[in-house]
Subunit: 426 residues, 2 copies
């Protein structure tokens, strides 16, 4: 398709979404929940159609890269569809934030002021993720009365198309406009560039994906954007750490799911505990396939373990988001050194300290500037589902509007209502 | 100055602001309030210096445009300085939002989650307003631990420079970094273009001014931006209006201060009350110097008053922000017609209905999508001071982060703190 025709087609999607968003903003909680229940059912009843489409993506991915770990991210099966259906039902059970009134005050002149929660309008999301993200974003937006314009990655195109058919039918069957969820099928880069200029049809644009995509949107989007998804996560093992907790936490943060943004990238260890702690952790990590990229002082401790799983860290290992079974390791002499390293190399996503010292914990909580700051827990908990949001639209590393996992409330706005009896300004 | 040198100079201001913002973020409420009290005192004790600088701006403005109404906006005097000092003391009396904890929950696994309010960092503001805006923005940002990079209009340059000297001294005397408030003295357009690319040194950029400035920032800023200041405000007089209230409200909304964004631009009148209401309002308005730009149906009612103050509306009068003693007037047949007109031509700033019907009032509150929606009150109340915020950084017409007048809370962010006892993700 030539790029002019593609732009026209995307604008048509945008215009339809705008009309739908006005209807959706006024829709009842009941109608929106019915649409969500319909989606949840369709994920089960249309299983064969979805899995058949998904097989095309999975096989294409395997052909491109025979390592099944990567293709596995894309793969759907009956169990994963059932999990997705459960996730949607969880969103049904959450309170509808739209229409909530808050921050009520009465001024001295008798004017009654309230904030009333309203949808944002149309949320555009560009993502390169697993197909379940399509269902999660559509469901959260539907619950909050927002229309969506989605642009998924080419590797999941067939799966996403099948899921979007289910979603649109489910919405229509609930008496709501099926144009509430629009999906851009073109995988042409031109489509992304066009979205950046759709100020008229996208009220908030969210990129979920690579650092280059996030940067492109931050710099070029003509509408408000919230960027997220890039997580350079540190865990600092303090001199006052409980080392058993520290072993469990660092192991979990790196190994439980290495391909995601909240996985551990760099471990910082206080020199007072390094010689006791590091050899034990290194053994656990290496047994699970982790490669350690370690600084000189860690080399002094771990030298005897040297082998293919332990390599000298290069400059570019600090501040690197691995998304793989790799971890950088550095020995530091103080909490201050650890915090300075995090401030220098972190991406303000998820940062953790392991310590039994309240003073150290509180300094870390006070001074580290990140979306989520942890004491004695794995950074893997930075997640909308774990936080009780049912799902997440994205994890914001921006500081405006929303920070961290974005659930329902984070994709709403408010209006002020002011009710008087004829007041005028003096 | 050549543009490379100017860019370097502005980057230096940015770098200094970043260092200051880190100190300011950790400063006590006491220290911040002391700085504000010092500013308030300086506005009185350094009055002569400030007024002398202001005289340069005032005289230059008069020379450019002999109409004293325009120069008057710039003019400072003892009374206006005393008002500004009062405004700063009002900000001292407000609660410091920084450090507040909210949205606390404990997950089933025992993790304790809280949001903690933190500063945004560095707020950049580009404005073309009266010099008191410099003091208001600096004071609100100081109270919330934000550093600021300010770029005021050339017409107020001498006044702003004098005020910034007072502000910096006041901050330093309170033991806080004077680089917390940075002022770009260059009035070169290059300075604005450079700010748009200072992603490293500006966390939120706010344009206050003309529509072209707002558009430039929305489209070209590489960092998050909140746009505001353009208000095309409608007041709709319903068939069920109390006409005495309607006279007072429409008169106030247009005449009390026509040069600002929350002043009435277009009056919509239900046809059932037009012949009783419009002649009375027109007489009051014309006596105060208002020019009415009226549609054909209003002409049928007001034809007998025709003269230089009553002219036929042109297409461009609908949706026009006058900022002057002009008003567009249109007769409509229903609440729906009025809301359709507002949706088509409004700028989502401030919209009002005058009615005694609860049903009409509630439909207007529900369906009009604007920052502030009024029932039976003048749109002039859209104002941080009137809302009890002490002052305002801007009036946001965006839907993300903050909507309407932006006071203290609206220039903060939050971080999640998660405290555990060794939890890992399953």
């Amino acid at each position: 398709m030539n790029s002019r025709k593609l732009s026209e087609q995307i604008n048509t999607l945008g215009h339809e979404a705008r009309v739908a968003s006005r209807l959706l903003a006024k829709s009842s909680t009941e109608a929106k929940n019915q649409a969500l229940l319909n989606i949840s059912e369709a994920l089960l009843s249309k299983r064969d159609m979805i899995l058949e489409s998904n097989r095309l993506d999975y096989e294409a991915a395997l052909e491109k890269d025979p390592n099944p770990v990567n293709a596995d991210r894309l793969m759907l099966n009956a169990e994963r569809l059932a999990d997705m259906a459960d996730g949607v039902r969880k969103i049904v059970s959450l309170n509808d934030p739209i229409g909530e009134e808050f921050d009520e005050t009465t001024l001295e002149n008798g004017l009654s002021l309230k904030k009333r929660r309203v949808p944002l309008g149309i949320i555009g999301v560009i993502y390169e993720s697993r197909p379940n993200v399509t269902v999660e974003i559509a469901s959260l937006c539907l619950k909050t009365g927002n229309a969506t314009i989605l642009r998924g990655g080419s590797e999941a195109l067939n799966s996403n198309k099948a899921l979007v058919v289910c979603i649109k039918d489910a919405i229509r069957d609930a008496g709501l406009p099926s144009e509430s969820v629009q999906f851009i099928e073109s995988t042409d880069r031109v489509a992304v560039n066009h979205m950046l200029n759709m100020r008229e049809y996208i009220d908030l644009l969210i990129p979920r994906g690579s650092e280059s995509l996030v940067r492109l949107v931050a710099e070029k989007a003509t509408m408000p954007a919230i960027t997220g998804g890039v997580g350079v996560s540190h865990t600092y093992i303090d001199s006052d750490a409980d080392l058993e907790k520290a072993l469990a936490i660092a192991f979990n943060a790196k190994v439980q799911r290495p391909s995601v943004c909240n996985a551990l990238d760099t471990l910082l260890v206080h020199s007072a505990v390094a010689s006791e702690y590091l050899p034990r952790l290194a053994e656990m990590w290496i047994q699970s396939g982790v490669t350690l990229h370690i600084d000189e002082r860690a080399m002094n401790v771990l030298g005897s373990l040297q082998g293919p799983s332990i390599v000298a860290a290069k400059d570019e290992d600090w501040g690197r988001e691995y998304l793989s079974l790799d971890a950088a390791v550095k020995v530091v002499d103080s909490l201050d050194d650890a915090m300075f390293h995090i401030e220098t190399y972190g991406s303000a996503h998820s940062e953790a300290i392991v310590t039994e010292s309240d003073k150290a914990a509180n300094r870390f909580l006070d001074e580290i500037d990140a979306a989520v700051v942890f004491v004695n827990a794995s950074t893997r908990f930075t997640d909308g589902g774990e936080f009780g949001f049912g799902a997440e639209v994205a994890i914001s590393t921006d500081k405006i509007h929303a920070r961290g996992p974005m659930g329902l409330k984070e994709i709403t706005s408010y209006k002020w209502t002011v009710v008087g009896t004829g007041q005028v300004r003096l």
